[in-house]
């Protein structure tokens, strides 16, 4: 999304008479990207829906504190990542749970979720992703599935570009190993 579009959204939000319209436009503009970021982490549509709504609620509540020194997208994405992490912790699906139990639980979600109809290869890739530490998984998803630039990811995650490149590299290697052995 071009920055001048961000600007028009923020201008609308900045005027009391058009604040609601501006916010609706903001949700409309970013909802899909935020939705898919979170869906790939929490898997189930209903859980994703909860988290997405929390994200936009947080955005609404803190709009006045947005300092505009980063892109609107980057700011919203950071909130989304934080909310996804909060959800992970709340649901005890963080990576320190043994791989087997975590894989089993999320694998069960995929199998039983009527909202998942991936092919065998897609399912295998999802399982491989579950073997990555949470942050590495996030980095892989942002880069591979959402094609974000390292600079954007760096601004969102607060991690250096070098560390992100290395993280992505190692994620790919681990996925390759997983796919070769399973």
């Amino acid at each position: 999304m071009p920055e001048n579009d961000d600007q028009s959204i923020l201008d609308l939000i900045g005027r009391p008479e058009s604040r609601n319209r501006g916010f609706e436009l903001l949700v409309h503009t970013y909802q899909e990207r935020i939705y898919w970021l979170i869906r790939r982490i929490v898997f189930r549509h209903e859980d994703t829906d909860d988290v997405v709504q929390n994200v936009f609620l947080q955005v609404w509540l803190h709009l006045d504190s947005f300092r505009r020194d980063s892109r609107l997208f980057t700011w919203i994405y950071r909130i989304a990542v934080n909310e996804a992490i909060r959800w992970q912790k709340k649901n005890r699906l963080h990576h320190w749970i043994s791989f087997s139990s975590m894989e089993r639980e999320l694998g069960n979600i995929l199998v039983s979720d009527p909202g998942y109809n991936g092919t065998e290869v897609e399912f295998k890739l999802q399982k491989a992703l579950l073997h990555l530490p949470f942050k590495q998984r996030l980095v892989f998803q942002m880069k591979y599935m959402e094609s974000l630039k390292y600079e954007e990811m760096s601004a969102i995650l607060g991690t250096s570009v070098g560390a992100l490149k290395a993280s992505y590299h190692h994620a790919v290697k681990k996925i390759e190993r997983f796919l070769a052995n399973h």
């Binding site: 609601n20 916010f23 609706e24 436009l25 949700v27 909802q31 939705y35 898919w36 869906r39 790939r40 898997f43 549509h45 209903e46 829906d49 909860d50 997405v52 709504q53 929390n54 936009f56 609620l57 609404w60 509540l61 009527p114 909202g115 998942y116 109809n117 991936g118 092919t119 290869v121 897609e122 399912f123 295998k124 890739l125 999802q126 530490p133 942050k135 590495q136 980095v139 591979y144 599935m145 959402e146 607060g158 250096s160 570009v161 070098g162 560390a163 490149k165 290395a166 993280s167 992505y168 590299h169 190692h170 790919v172 681990k174 996925i175 390759e176 796919l179 070769a180 052995n181 399973h182």
Partner: protein
């Protein structure tokens, strides 16, 4: 074959979800105040006939799979593994190779480097714990510390982060 897996990776959403979401969120925020909003429940249609059909298809496919495995082992139909997507082919299918990095930003890595290969264990003196190469990588990544791409890893970063 080499195109990336679709970004949505098999997940689907109820029809019309994104059309309703902005107005729904705005409505709750402006009328309901600031409490947590609960999910829009747009149920997926589940039809009994579909389930029955899926079960039948599953049984047929399972039988077919068993038959194919048996015939494959006996060499009846297969002269080679061509046409079967083997696990080893998956990275190529997923186009993961394109993503492999070559560069290592060594300048970002503080302290002396420790070289080792494979999954051998090394001891970090500070806490006496033993880590494999992968565990050290995970440790560094989780703490936003630079991780080299080559086989060389630094443990000084771990020690520094524990101080």
């Amino acid at each position: 074959m080499t195109e990336r897996i679709a970004s949505k990776s098999g997940f689907r959403i109820p029809d019309g979800y994104f059309e309703h979401l902005p107005a729904y969120i705005l409505d709750h925020i402006t009328t309901g105040g600031r409490q947590r909003i609960h999910a829009i429940r747009v149920p997926f249609p589940v039809i009994r006939m579909e389930i029955t059909a899926a079960l039948c298809a599953g049984i047929i496919l399972a039988s077919l799979a068993i038959f194919l495995v048996i015939t494959r082992d006996s060499g009846i139909f297969y002269g080679s593994d061509k046409g079967i997507l083997l696990s080893a082919d998956l990275p190529e299918y997923l186009n993961l190779e394109e993503a492999t990095l070559i560069e290592c930003l060594a300048s970002e890595i503080p302290g002396p480097l420790l070289s080792f290969n494979g999954d051998e264990k090394i001891t970090v003196e500070l806490d006496g714990e033993q880590y494999t190469k992968d565990e050290i990588i995970d440790y560094l990544i989780e703490r936003d510390l630079p991780v080299p791409v080559t086989n060389e890893l630094t443990i000084s970063a771990i020690i520094n982060s524990n101080n």
